[in-house]
Amino acid sequence: MLTAGFEYHTAHLIGAVVLMMGFTLLYQRRMSAVIRAYSWQATALALAAAWQGFVQHAPHLYATAAIALLFKGVAVPLTLSWLVKRLGIHRTVETALGIGPTMIAGVGLVALSIVLVLPVTSGAGAITRESLAIAMSVVLLGLLMMITRRNAVTQVVGFMALENGLILAAVGAKGMPLVVEISIAFSVLVAMTLFGIFFFRIRERFDTLDLAYLETFRGERQ
């Protein structure tokens, strides 16, 4: 039988890996590296879900882990890479805010979520508290990625990193039913499909995925 301390530290470690991958997403300069980092984040998430399933004796969390691993860790990154190749998307990440300032902002967001979550959840167990704080950081980092990157693909990745954060929060809370997780996974799927269609449409019409061209078309930029 494992001790409570070991359970806690392992959960913490895996959560930290998810968070670290969130940061990794922020400083990539190449598209393929972004997708790979996302894949690693999803894998870490799957591991976190599996560990929580083991600790909480909740077998349905293994299903969540499997979904995360197969769908997010493998299927989505492959699709995205294929899309990038197929559409001939520019392979470098175009930033709106420099890498350095983005990282500093990310650190600030992590600090904010820890300051915020820890006092609120003082009644809950240590595992829940830590993983909630980490999950919220991941959500905020995903949002940050969405606003500091210009390319549509990186914005989609940011959005899905945000979803990862949500799932991390869901698996960390005890007694969360599977239904919710499946619905979240499906929402990612739907978003994926939508974005895929979106890419094709933009590509067909403007021959680029850079949002700046879309803005020019809407008459917002000369």
């Binding site: 915020l116 949002l143 606003i147 914005q155």
Partner: protein, 668 residues
């Protein structure tokens, strides 16, 4: 029961008028039925007042409206008074409409809304909860708005409608907030619960301020009056009479209901403020009226003035009550109510007169009228009575109410506050100034319209209006005379309304016959009856003396031709030239009036021109200022419509982070 069925009949009439919209007879039928219903309602109100007190006000709860609120109606003494005060002029306007309503432009748009407008105004009076009150109030605003817009092809009417709608919505929102505060956390929207509710000083003050904004904007209190002189003249004349003579009174009713019934602890400071606003309204309103060239706009501005006079009395009543002088408060309130009924009568009369002039000549501009007295003797005579009454000339009714207000003003320095002591004389002077201006204004209006020689072919060929219209103007003229000559009759009736509100028994000296002495017999008393008898006696003596001692020899002499022998109509006094002295004294300061004469050089054949420019400081300063600010904000905000996707996300993200930061900081 009678009232309920009368109200139902108004609605039925409205739908009937829509149903038979195309028929010619529907106009006369609708207005005739409206007149009958108004007479019934006014009679009912009068009967309740005469039967005295009505301690147990009949109330009824109808299961309509919001399910858990229901609709409460109640008829207390204040409601009965206003029921009488608004339905009698409404009956006259309807009577006028029988002959007039079929001939106004877009009559088919006016007729169905007229009974609905009456229905809404009566609904406000009978409401016993905030819900019914506000719904009726808004119904009143909207139906009158549609009436203003009836002649929608006219650009001025459309502009008036827009300004009116904005102001009406503003006023209703203020009242909504006021009732929301009165209802408190428990959400007790019945008036009965509001009477006992206890509010803090801040909430109480806010209620008064909001009520003043809401009801004041409907009544035409400066600086919220801007819509009134636009909207009232834009409607057909009998509707103008309703809006000016009646709807402003409904607004006053709302103010009295909140200040004197629902709240009983309004501080003297508010009374002082209302009084000063009233003085400002009175002076500015009549100053505007003095320089108008359009007869109906002039009458509308004069309504603003009279609302100011009523507000002075209401403010005094509030101040007296807070000071503990219940009798003086009751006298001031009585004076206010007296002026309410007076103004509703003579303003209806004057607007109907303008309608008659419009029927006869098709003109509203003063400079196109003139010499109508010979052509329309009944209209002229009744208009003269109305003009004299609104100028507060004895022995007519306007004098009595303004005299009563002055009497209570003279006792206001007994309130030991420096603001009252110094403010009251200023307000008194302002009111006297307003009364003098009103006199000038109506001498000008009557003189230019009815005296002199016709200034246009339309005026030259004018003929007297039909008998029904004459009757609709003659009845209020007689009523003005009666209310002026027998004031005690009116005061004793109004006393039954005031006493429950002020919670005091008025001294019988006030109700004495024939001397009206509001405070005490030695302080000041007035008897129009005696005055009139003396006047008649002196006249008879003079006539007899002339007959006895004067010569009967006829001496023919050339008539004085005012210094111009040739027949040039424009050489007469014009509307602008009559008001020129006052315009130079006051207009240059208040309205920045500028006169410019453009004289051609000798030998040049073009005509000389006289140009007169005036600006409206309140419109340009306040309303245009607000408009500029709103436009500037809208321009800024408009950029939000054209952001990039990433910027929208950034806005969301920043909002989220700021909110989270606030939570984080509050937790520490």
């Amino acid at each position: 029961m009678i009232i309920g069925s009368a109200l139902g009949a108004f609605v039925a009439l409205g739908f009937l008028a829509i149903l038979f919209n195309g028929r010619h007879w529907i106009h006369s039928l609708t207005y005739g039925a409206c007149a009958a219903l108004c007479v019934i309602l006014a009679g009912d109100g009068l009967w309740h007042m005469v039967m005295g007190g009505h301690e147990a006000a009949p109330a009824i709860v109808l299961p309509i409206g919001i399910p858990w609120l229901k609709a409460h109606f109640r008829l207390d003494s204040l409601s009965t008074f206003f029921l009488m005060a608004i339905n009698s002029p409404a009956a006259l306007a309807s009577l006028f409409g029988i002959a007039y309503g079929g001939h106004v432009p877009e009559a088919r748009r006016v007729t169905p809304l007229f009974p609905l407008f009456l229905f809404a105004m009566n609904g406000v009076l009978l409401a016993d909860d905030a819900f019914v009150f506000l719904v009726s109030w808004e119904f009143m605003s909207l139906s009158s708005w549609l009436l203003v817009l009836s002649d929608h092809t006219n650009a001025e009417a459309r502009r008036a409608g827009l300004v009116y709608l904005v102001m009406a919505v503003f006023g209703t929102f203020c009242l909504l907030a006021a009732f929301g505060l009165l209802a408190g956390h428990a959400g007790a929207y019945g008036f009965a619960a509001m009477r006992t509710a206890h509010l803090g000083p801040w909430a109480g003050g806010l209620v008064v301020a909001l009520a003043l904004l809401g009801a004041g904007s409907k009544a035409g209190m400066v600086p919220l009056h801007a819509w009134l002189p636009l909207a009232h003249p834009a409607a057909p004349s009998h509707v103008s009479a309703l809006m000016s003579g009646v709807m402003t009174k409904v607004a006053i009713y709302g103010l009295i209901r909140i200040l004197f019934d629902l709240r009983s602890d309004v501080g003297w400071g508010w009374g002082f403020f209302i009084m000063v606003m009233g003085a400002l309204t009175a002076v500015l309103g009549v100053l505007y009226a003095l320089f108008q060239r359009d007869l109906k706009t002039l009458l509308a501005y004069s309504t603003v003035e009279n609302v100011g006079i009523i507000l002075i009395a209401l403010g005094l009543a509030v101040a007296f009550r807070d000071h503990g002088a219940a009798t003086l408060s009751a006298v001031a309130l009585l004076a206010a109510l007296y002026h309410v009924i007076n103004h509703s009568l003579f303003k209806t009369l004057l607007f109907l007169g303008s309608g008659a002039i419009l029927t006869a000549t098709g003109e509203r501009r003063l400079d196109r009228l003139g010499g109508l007295l010979n052509r329309m003797p009944v209209t002229g005579l009744t208009f003269l009575v109305g003009a004299a009454a609104i100028s507060a000339l004895p022995p007519l009714n306007g004098f009595v109410s303004e005299w009563l207000i002055f009497q209570s003003l003279f006792h206001a320095p007994t309130i030991p506050h420096w603001a009252m002591r110094f403010g009251v004389p200023v307000v008194g002077v302002a009111m006297a100034l307003a009364a003098a201006f009103a006199g000038t204004c109506f001498v000008r209006a009557f003189g230019i319209v009815f005296l002199g020689r016709p200034r246009s072919p339309e005026a030259r060929h004018a003929a007297e209006v039909p008998f029904v219209m004459q009757a609709a103007m003659a009845i209020p003229a007689v009523a003005c005379l009666c209310l002026g000559v027998f004031p005690v009759m009116a005061t004793s009736g109004i006393a039954t309304v005031v006493e429950p509100l002020a919670k005091v028994q008025l001294p019988t000296a006030l109700l004495g016959w024939p001397w009206l002495s509001p405070i005490s017999p030695t302080d000041g008393s007035y008897s129009a009856t005696m005055l009139l008898l003396t006047f008649i006696g002196l006249m008879l003596t003079t006539v007899i003396a002339l007959r006895l001692f004067g010569t009967r020899r006829v001496r023919p002499a050339p008539a004085w031709d005012c210094g111009h022998q040739e027949d040039i109509v424009n050489a007469q006094y014009s509307a602008d030239s009559f008001s020129q002295p006052l315009r130079r004294v006051f207009g240059s300061v208040v309205f920045n009036a500028q006169e410019r004469v453009d004289m051609p050089t000798p030998g040049d054949l073009r005509p000389a021109r006289f140009e007169l420019r005036m600006t409206d400081p309140i419109w340009d300063g306040l309303y245009m200022g607000i408009l500029r600010v709103v436009n500037a904000i809208a321009d800024r905000v408009n950029r939000l419509q054209f952001l990039t996707v990433r910027r929208y996300l950034f806005l969301m993200f920043t909002t989220l982070v700021v909110l989270l930061l606030i939570v984080a900081i509050r937790q520490q």
